[in-house]
């Protein structure tokens, strides 16, 4: 675990130093002469040996200093913090919706695995999983926003009216619907498949037969034994999807002009604002590690056979 964290630090540090361009020169400004650039180097600590710079870097990150945005002249953490809530709203909603819908769908197919509806669901989920999110987003905009005119085509709030209170919540919810649908669709498809196969595996297991032999009703055996066991690998999968959710969110935010981190990333890449992009890479990496840790903890708590190392 700590090795992975250290690895992430090393990787981002190396990347920060691989970036073309000379930070000292940029800092000193245009028209700076050699001595001014040298002074900038000393000020930025760039003349120190690399291992020392690395330690300083780690120290900074740990205390919440991710550098300064080239473009916005503000700390990276501030820039990110401002754009974080919309993205969290989008990703959180998509995660909740897809987890619920995916598990329910998966359960329904596992009930009768050989039926026509199960096969149809299998094909549909595979197709849903193959759709590029940004394209589906465009299709949704064409269908629901342009043709039918019932849902907004983009943004998080109505640009013309400023709602307050409950009306504001409803307005945001309306704007949230299409982006969440698109982001959640492929996750739902994946979870449906994983849940379906996990449940099928549990239901066919020996202990279920034993439970039936002991007189336990089919539904009760399912609810008390098969289902909890089946949900464990599902939870693991959900925990591991954070990285994909992030990349999905970046693209969806672009299609729907959602004012979150995804848009920030695109802007930063256009203006070559490396500290911001690197800051985001760092944050997402740690978030993924955190999610994995959390999933492992849940797993070890719930399954007494697994001891947490």
């Amino acid at each position: 675990m700590m090795v992975v964290v250290a690895g992430i630090f090393v990787l981002t540090f190396v990347l920060a130093h691989l970036a073309p361009g000379d930070p000292a020169r940029d800092f000193a400004g245009e028209g700076a002469d050699a001595s001014q650039i040298e002074a900038a180097e000393v000020y930025l600590g760039l003349d120190r040996p690399l291992p020392e710079q690395f330690v300083v870097y780690v120290g900074r990150v740990v205390t919440g200093d991710l550098g300064t945005s080239y473009v916005q002249r503000q700390p990276v953490t501030t820039v990110i913090r401002l754009r974080l809530p919309p993205t969290l709203l989008l990703m959180g909603s998509a995660l909740a919706v897809s987890s619920l819908a995916g598990v329910v769908l998966g359960l329904s197919t596992a009930r009768r695995p050989k039926s026509a509806s199960a096969k149809a669901t299998s094909t549909l989920t595979m197709l849903a999983y193959s759709l590029p999110g940004f394209w589906l987003g465009q299709l949704m905009v064409i269908t629901f926003a342009i043709r039918a005119g019932i849902l907004p085509a983009g943004g998080m709030n109505d640009a013309r009216e400023a709602y307050t209170g409950l009306a504001a919540v409803v307005d945001t919810a309306r704007h949230l619907m299409l982006p969440v649908f698109v982001l959640a669709l492929s996750e739902t498809a994946l979870l449906a498949r994983v849940t379906g196969s996990a449940v099928r595996r549990q239901v066919g297991a020996n202990y279920m037969r034993t439970a039936a032999a002991k007189g336990l009703g089919r539904d009760e055996a399912f609810a008390r034994h098969a289902l909890p066991n089946a949900l464990l690998p599902v939870v693991t999968v959900i925990g591991g999807r954070l990285g994909f959710l992030v990349s999905g969110a970046v693209l969806i935010e672009s299609v729907f002009a959602w004012p979150g981190l995804g848009r920030l990333l695109v802007e930063a890449s256009r203006s070559n604002d490396h500290p911001v992009i690197l800051g985001m890479v760092l944050m997402v990496s740690f978030a993924v590690v955190g999610a994995t840790l959390l999933t492992d903890l849940v797993y070890s708590r719930v399954d007494p056979r697994i001891r947490f190392r």
Binding site: V4, P20, M126, S130, L131, Q138, I142, L265, S269
Partner: protein
């Protein structure tokens, strides 16, 4: 069926010049925003460029990048997976931690970062995606190698005087290959989506037709020209589905054999 789709795609990509000889970037001011018709089966865009040509040429771009990524990721993944599976011990631990690190870093964001420095050429994208896609393959191969290493034939080979490298290539790799190919197909399907996503954000070679870029271009014309979005996007979806079908089919074969 997935294989059939893929072969069709490969044929289209290879024969791109024959099917759609026109230059996809030729603009034609009088043919702006035309709906699909006989002369333009998929319509035209806001500059009069033929969408059909763009889609056909785009197949080549996508498959080229996918091929590059799969080659790199497979080379690294197979090597890492088999060596750590056979050796075990400290090397195994270290490599596993490196694998987890690579898996934690969001490769989409990373590619956005690096293409900002080194340009958006197909090589850069392929190398970067390849270097970040091997962990899944390495883990799968390692797991299979571990179960293989306990079987007798490895000992038998050793007793015949076979060295480590020979065991690796003549025995272990052929055995893990069927499982590895399934993962390769899955990686391919993910890469098509990632590459299209990057192109959608404008991070693709402007000199090569790209489905993602076509979809991006369609963004401002959704109200007037649905065909600009539908056809390139469908091409992406079909290609991804083809690889997924292939992975399913290969996986089923592997299950049947074991």
């Amino acid at each position: 069926m997935g294989l059939g789709l893929l072969l069709f795609l490969a044929a289209v990509a290879l024969a791109a010049e024959q099917i759609a000889p026109a230059n996809p970037f030729t603009t034609s001011p009088q043919d702006v925003l035309l709906a699909p018709s006989v002369s333009h089966p998929m319509g035209t865009d806001q500059l009069g460029r033929d969408i059909f040509t763009g889609v056909v040429r785009g197949a080549r771009t996508s498959l080229r990048i996918v091929a590059g990524v799969v080659v790199i990721a497979s080379a690294v993944g197979l090597l890492v997976g088999t060596v750590t599976g056979l050796r075990g011990g400290l090397l195994d631990d270290l490599v596993m931690r490196i694998t987890e690190t690579v898996q934690a870093v969001p490769r989409f964001l990373l590619t956005i970062l690096v293409t900002g420095w080194f340009g958006v050429g197909a090589t850069t994208v392929a190398v970067l995606l390849g270097l970040t896609s091997w962990p899944l393959l390495a883990r799968t191969v390692r797991a299979e190698t571990l179960s293989l290493a306990r079987r007798e034939f490895v000992d038998a080979a050793r007793s015949h005087g076979a060295t480590g490298a020979v065991i690796l290539f003549r025995h272990v790799v052929p055995s893990v290959w069927p499982g590895a190919v399934v993962v390769m197909a899955l990686i391919a399907s993910r890469i098509v989506l990632l590459e299209a996503g990057l192109a959608f954000l404008g991070l693709s070679d402007p000199n090569a037709a790209s489905w993602g870029a076509l979809v991006n271009n369609a963004g401002s014309y959704l109200d007037r020209a649905w065909w600009m979005s539908v056809f390139p996007g469908a091409a992406i979806a079909l290609t991804v589905a083809a690889f997924n079908l292939l992975a399913d089919a290969l996986g089923a074969t592997v299950d049947d054999q074991s």
